[in-house]
């Protein structure tokens, strides 16, 4: 028995020793950076991969491991990734609505001192606004996107419509004609699923009616008559069969799929939908998509509002916990450099102001087949990008608004009642 006892003890000691040996420091290897980004708006994963491989070729001491997930899953991936020990990511794409929360959470490294004078003067100030809090910069601007209003030229032509709508009321008139003529069963498509997409579309509509999220005192104002009118209009287009009823469960990818399948005449989406609609390998409508400035409501137009969209910009944040901030910054600087952004500008236009002037503008327009159309569309639409609230509890506030909009759209509550309840929730959240 004593022998058995001794053998057991020896085996256990050996097992512990072997497992400890696994923790011994290894020979010097390239630094591996884990970076999270979206597989949705902006450039495609294959293109980001190519940029990463180009960077690795120039920097053999750094290895880049990219991870791609749908936009709607990134926030929660960051939160869970940062709870891991060690944290899962060295850098991540950060949407314009997250910096307040993430700065409060301590996730983001203050990179103010890494921003060079060239970056400061060269990059659009609007791109910096998304990652600047209390005078400090918490990320590298990357993607300047807004929601665009796109239409199918052929369908409008078939319907005898000569120009795209300037107001949402005109859109309804045109959609009715298209529906009546049997050109499209549901002429309009939106991303109104219970996610951030519906808040983005509502932002464009709300501001286009002269509304705002909060008033001058910071109190919710989206439930006043401007917001209620916008939501009532959304519901009416569903009731009239003009908006595709599947919009209530659609994200931006579904909107794109319907548009490029030739099912919808009008679609509100991010820039990348245009390149996909011209990709003959997957689109039924190559050459038929066109941009128009995002319409506004007639009341908004009368008040002097020319267009109204939503800012969907994003940046790359360096995680405060990364042991390799210099290497991460080196990669992010490369990823967002003028040269790389111009080369990969089919679905995502550069953040550099000079690219839109003089000879550089000519070069940018020639960089991809779609740029002659998308560059002017961007220059026309981006100035009308409206912001969603910048608060640390944004996600919960947004969820309350998503619920309210969906309750109104599915007929569970009146637009007024639904928005009042969301506003009450916002007040409650602000008080906590």
């Amino acid at each position: 028995m004593r022998t058995f006892y001794k053998i057991t003890l020896i085996i256990m000691v050996l097992a512990i020793a072997v497992s400890m040996a696994g923790c011994a420091p290894k020979a010097k290897q390239p630094v591996t950076l884990h970076i999270l980004t979206q597989d949705q708006a902006g450039i495609k994963p294959a293109e980001v991969d190519q940029i990463a491989r180009d960077f690795e070729a120039k920097n053999p001491d750094i290895k880049i491991v990219m991870e791609y997930v749908g936009y709607d899953y990134i926030h929660d991936k960051i939160v869970t990734g940062m709870a891991a020990k060690p944290p899962a990511y060295d850098a991540s794409m950060i949407d314009v609505i997250w910096p307040d929360e993430f700065v409060k959470s301590g996730y983001l490294l203050d990179v103010t001192n890494r921003i060079t004078p060239e970056m400061k003067s060269g990059i659009f100030p609007a791109a910096f606004n998304g990652v600047t809090r209390n005078g400090k910069v918490y990320g590298m601007p990357w993607l300047m996107d807004v929601k665009y209003f796109m239409y199918n030229k052929d369908m409008l032509q078939q319907a005898g419509i000569t120009a795209p709508p300037k107001t949402w009321e005109e859109l309804v008139d045109q959609a009715k004609i298209i529906k009546q003529k049997g050109i499209a069963e549901f002429p309009i498509d939106w991303s109104w699923n219970q996610k951030e997409g519906v808040v983005c579309d509502f932002t464009a509509l709300l501001f286009g009616n002269g509304g705002t999220f909060v008033d001058a005192n910071g109190k919710p104002a989206f439930n006043n008559e401007k917001g209620v009118q916008a939501l009532t209009w959304m519901k009416q287009t569903l009731d009239d069969g003009l908006t595709n009823p599947s919009s209530i469960s659609s994200d931006e990818n579904s909107v794109r799929d319907n548009f490029i399948a030739g099912k919808s005449a009008f679609a509100v989406n991010w820039l990348n939908q245009y390149a996909d609609s011209n990709d003959a390998s997957k689109s039924q409508i190559p050459g038929k998509a066109a941009f128009a400035p995002m319409p506004v409501f007639k009341a908004g137009a009368d008040a002097g509002i020319k267009s109204s969209s939503v800012d969907g910009s994003s940046s790359f944040g360096v995680m405060a916990t990364t042991p390799y901030p210099d290497q991460v910054w080196k990669f992010l600087t490369y990823l967002t450099s003028n040269e790389v952004q111009t080369k990969f500008s089919a679905e995502m236009l550069p953040i550099w102001q000079d690219d839109y002037k003089g000879d550089k503008l000519t070069a940018l327009k020639a960089a991809t087949p779609t740029n002659p159309v998308t560059v002017p569309a961007f220059m026309e639409q981006f100035p009308y990008a409206n912001e969603r609230p910048t608060v640390a509890y944004y996600n919960e506030a947004s969820a309350a608004l998503q619920l309210a909009i969906q309750e109104a759209l599915t007929g569970g509550k009146s637009p007024q009642q639904a928005l009042d309840e969301a506003a009450a929730k916002w007040v409650q959240l602000a008080g906590k």
């Binding site: 028995m1 004593r2 058995f4 006892y5 057991t8 003890l9 256990m12 709607d72 926030h75 929660d76 939160v79 869970t80 940062m82 709870a83 929360e101 409060k104 959470s105 301590g106 996730y107 069963e185 699923n193 219970q194 996610k195 595709n244 009823p245 599947s246 919009s247 209530i248 469960s249 659609s250 579904s254 799929d257 319907n258 399948a261 099912k263 405060a320 916990t321 509890y393 996600n395 919960e396 969820a399 619920l403 969906q406 309750e407 759209l409 599915t410 007929g411 569970g412």
Partner: protein, 307 residues
Amino acid sequence: MAANSSSIPKRRASLRRQDARVAWLLLIPSLAVILGVTLWPIIYTFILSFFNAPTGINQIRTFVGLGNYIDMLKDRTFWETVGRTLYFTVVSVGLELILGLAVAQLIHSHPWGWQFLRFSLIIPWAVPTIVNGAMWRWIYSADFGALNGILMQLGLIKHYVPWLTLPNTAMNLVILADIWHTMPFVALILQAALATLPEELNEAAMIDRANAWQRFWYVRLPLLRPAILVVLIVRTVEAFRVFDIVYIITSGGPAFKTITITYLTYLNTFSYGKQGTGAALSFLISIFTIMMALIFIRFLYRPEETR
């Protein structure tokens, strides 16, 4: 002799002590794993549930006592979600049990091709829930879905129906996907239990002129009670904690009509950054599931049947 006889028990006692020492030594690794992987997270979550604990690095946690529990129990959304989760649990487990029992009985009667049937049952169950959810989301797709395609070809609908946008239908469609995925598990367990029942009882009942239904209802079903109890406990606990299939098919929409209690926990913990609330919700879920398991045991467990 006397000295000899008294030394034997002493030696035995010493061996027992040594045995006990070795036993404890051997148990240490597994105890450490259980403590680290199972017990500690539970204890940690329990402690967390009494704090206001925002997500983040070096966040200050403030003790709120039972505040998180009271906030939830006072919240209308919480009770609506509990009701919705109970609906999911009762309907999906109920239908799985009925269908599973029917399929198990069918296999047990050994019709032509029963082995193929039993083998093919494993496929839906073997498919990971995430894949299952993604598959059913495409089947239900309003614009490109197979369900709409089939119903159109059969002439049952004139227009594609946006199934997942219908508030009263969406949850039932998620339940259908869950049944497709999990019913085979129920069927296989019950079929295995059926195979162990003594054939003599069935034959005796046949001699007594009991018809097929009577033989099933009065002879086999009571004997299946222990297996049904296992299935009910396992499936009810699983169904009450449903998350992944909802996350993939509907993301809780439309208008929160498919949000379940675990989904609410996920939202609070990760999307809203309220770990304390999430921890409190986790414990409330545990209390609900334990209560349900106890109810089943109280009404279905007959110790004499398992002897």
